[in-house]
Structures are given as C-alpha cells and as structure tokens.
Symmetry: C2
Subunit: 246 residues, 2 copies
Amino acid sequence: MTKKYVHPVLHEAHLIKDAVELVQSYPKVPLTVDCAIFGFEESKLKILLIKSDLEVFEGRYTLLGDMVRDNEELDAAAYRILKERTGMNDVFLDQVRAFGHPNRHPGGRVITVAYCSLLNINHHELKIHDNELNWHTVANLNEMAFDHMEIVDYCYAWLQKRIQEHPLGFNLLPEKFSLRELQNLYEAILGVTLDRRNFRKKFASMDLLIDIDEMEQDVPHRPGKLYKFNFEKYEKNKRKWVGIDF
Amino acid sequence: MTKKYVHPVLHEAHLIKDAVELVQSYPKVPLTVDCAIFGFEESKLKILLIKSDLEVFEGRYTLLGDMVRDNEELDAAAYRILKERTGMNDVFLDQVRAFGHPNRHPGGRVITVAYCSLLNINHHELKIHDNELNWHTVANLNEMAFDHMEIVDYCYAWLQKRIQEHPLGFNLLPEKFSLRELQNLYEAILGVTLDRRNFRKKFASMDLLIDIDEMEQDVPHRPGKLYKFNFEKYEKNKRKWVGIDF
DNA sequence: TCAAAAGTGTTTGTACTACACCCATGG
DNA sequence: CCATGGGTGTAGTACAAACACTTTTGA
C-alpha cells in the first residue's frame, strides 16, 4: 500500500486564466468597520459610543461603525466613519483585528474589522450628537449591541499592551501636563496604582519630558510643574526589542 | 449664528425594524483566509508556501489560502484550509489582521484575514504536495503573488514579538532538545546573536526546562544535554504585565 | 591532535521596589 | 491651620550584559 504521490509538474497545466471569474465564484459577505475610540477625562478611561439604530438593540450602545464601501480601503473606511460620526479628522487609527462570527449581527452574516485609537477628549469636542454620540466610562459599560462588548474588551486589552510599548498616552493629555495627570492616565488605562516617586523617576530617566518652567494654575493645592512631551526624542529612541522576556 | 443641536430623543422614532434588509443593502465582498505557517529546520526559519494557481502569477508562491464559506467562522476557515492544503489538524492558529487593499487581488476586490502559526517541521511531515506545497527559507523569499510578501513581513514581525512573550518556540523543537537547538531557534527567529552563557542562565532561571538526563547522539562534537519543556509550569506562570516599558 | 561545540562564574551596571517626610497652595 | 497633592532620596534586590577558559567528543 503506497501513498499516491502527486508530482508538482502535473499541475502546471491547471493554471487559472480568469482571475475575475474565480473571485466571482467566492461567497460574498457584507463588511463593516467599527472604531473603538478611547479617551481620557477626569482620571477615567472613556470610550465613544452611540445608540444603536436597530430596533432589536433598542437602548443599547454600539461602537462607531458602518459598512465599507466598494473599493474602499479598510483604513480609509475607518477614517471616513470616524469623521462622519464625530467630525474628527486628526486621529490615528490602528487596526486591531477582524471579528467574523456568523451570528454576530442579527441581520445576517457581517464581518467587521475593529479599529482603535486613544485621544484627548478635551481636544476633540463632539460637534455631532447623532445617535446620542457620547463618552462612556469604560469601567461601567452595560450590555452593548452585537458583539461589541467582546470587541471593546479585546481592544481594551490591546490598548493596555500597546501603551506600555509606545507613549500613546501623550495623545490623551493637554500639550502641557503635570506628572500627576500623566500618572492618572497610566493608572486609569492599566487599572493599577503606581508609586508616585517611582513613576516620576521612570519618566525622568527616560528623558522624554520637557520641563517648560510653568506651573499649574487654579488648583486647590500646591501647583505642580508642567511638561511637554518630547516627540522628537521619542522618535529617535523607539524601543529595540532584543531580550527574551516571557 | 448658533449651532444646530439635534436632540437625541428625536432619533428614537428612526429605529430600523428590519436588520436583514439593512445588511442586504451593504456592499458585499469576497473573503479569504491566508495562513502563514512558520517552521524551523536546520537552524533556519521557514514558511509553508504553494505555487499560485493563477496564470498571472505563474511561478510565484502564495500563502495557504482559500475563500471563507457561507456562515463559516473565520477561525474555522483557517483550520479547514490548513487541513485541506497540508493535512495538518493539530496546529494552533492565531489571527493576525485583515488585509483589504482594493487592488490586492487581480480578480477584483478580496479581503483576506491572515492567520499565523509556528510549528515543528519534523513533527508535521507534508503528505500533500498539491501546488508544490513546500517549506521555504524566510530569509530568501522571492517575489510572491498578491500582497503576500507584505502579509509575510507583517506576520513575521508579529511572530518575533510574540515569541518574546510566549514560549512558542518549543513547538518548533523536538520533544527532547539541546540548549544549542533552543538558542539557534531564538537567534533564527529574532535575527540576532545571543550570548551562550547568558542565554543558558536565562532559561535556567526560568525553570521551564526539565533535564531528562540524556545526551545528544551522533553529533560530530561533544554532545549536549537534552531537555524537555515544562508545559505545566509555563501555564501557571504566564506573564503578568505591569510595568511601563517603552 | 584538531575542530567544534558544551559547559561554566564573576563582575558591573542598570532598573525596579518599597518606603516617609516636608513643602506650597487655596480655602 | 487644615487639606490636598507636590516634590524628593535611599537601600535592597533582581536582572542583563560583557567576557574566556576548560572539557568532551568524533574525525
């Protein structure tokens, strides 16, 4: 009993001439993009949500999503949708992953690609309020429409990991910020409390903060120094990963 | 000149009753999955590729891919395709991300979702040779079909990062392996050279290796000790990320 | 006896942790 | 004068990096 061996060369005769025909034979599915836009305000991590348009999800919230158009890049769709829903057009979005469970949408199969960002709420006033667009505290999210809770959980974990590798955090703060604000930010996103002295030392040693020689104003306690983020320096020193570190 | 303010309540009248109709109004796109299966052999990182079926890509290689079926989970499609193409059914696949450039496929728009894995070539003999399925050294890849070079690059970077957080590497080695083999593996995947003593110390301190009190056989030099990986121990100690570490 | 890789320890620097007190401001 | 958070230093520990010689085996 020998195994049948198919010689590669035999296959050269089978090349497909018409790629268009091939693609047309594939099943097609509706494709959407959902944006998980995180922001930071009052020492809390928040996320932008709207009310679902669908009756079956009446009262529930969803991420900012919509269909991808014909011949539209996924990234472009994400930026377009964000712009349409919020008016924002100066936000960086990163693709997180695709979600494709066949029953995730009550209207039939829809694949969605999740995008994620993190931004400074005070720099991005909401000018559009359709579908009750608003910021929601991540810690108290209720039931959401579709599988959006799962997507939020995944994006949040993705974000926690990412903020430890890249100083995304600075997008969340005013141009000038105090170390306390910076620490609040990290504590909010990572869900931990950090030692103040060690935190300050850590950032001091990274030398990514520029002391602008100004102080906080109108705070009901001793004012802290204000800093700016040194973007230039960061760009030069992007982390080199070499170690092995499970 | 005041801004027009749309009160949220106005929208409650607009709820969509028919989710199916809504979804049917979306553009639909063909959806595929592509698997980037990395393996390790002769101290080199390799990847499983097949020859493209398409005439326009005659002679070029592609990842293991195919369409996603109606109502098929993305993960399930990836496992099915891997099984169909290679016969393997005991491999873990992770989704990496979606690629959706409108012109990435000559037959029209096709979205693909990339999956990635890493395995032990010697534990997975290739029993199917359709489309010249074979292992290719990652370092010498030539031009590939579609955007598969981009996908490979992305998956490779993804893998390098991932192997530093999880000991995927052990899937690539025989059950019993020497420290030299382990080090070769890390050097091959990370593309760096590592100090032998420090490497050994690192793994010794992690206590993830079981000394099985056997030696290499038939090597043209002093034989090294053989070890097994302590999977149990690893499962208990999965890394907790807490620090901030750009 | 040679080639090739195995095996091994120390030192040095860096980075993280834990921890407590005084200071500046507004109310 | 009180409450609130700002600002600071040290000691201990753990980890990473650099670095060279002896040993074992097969050819």
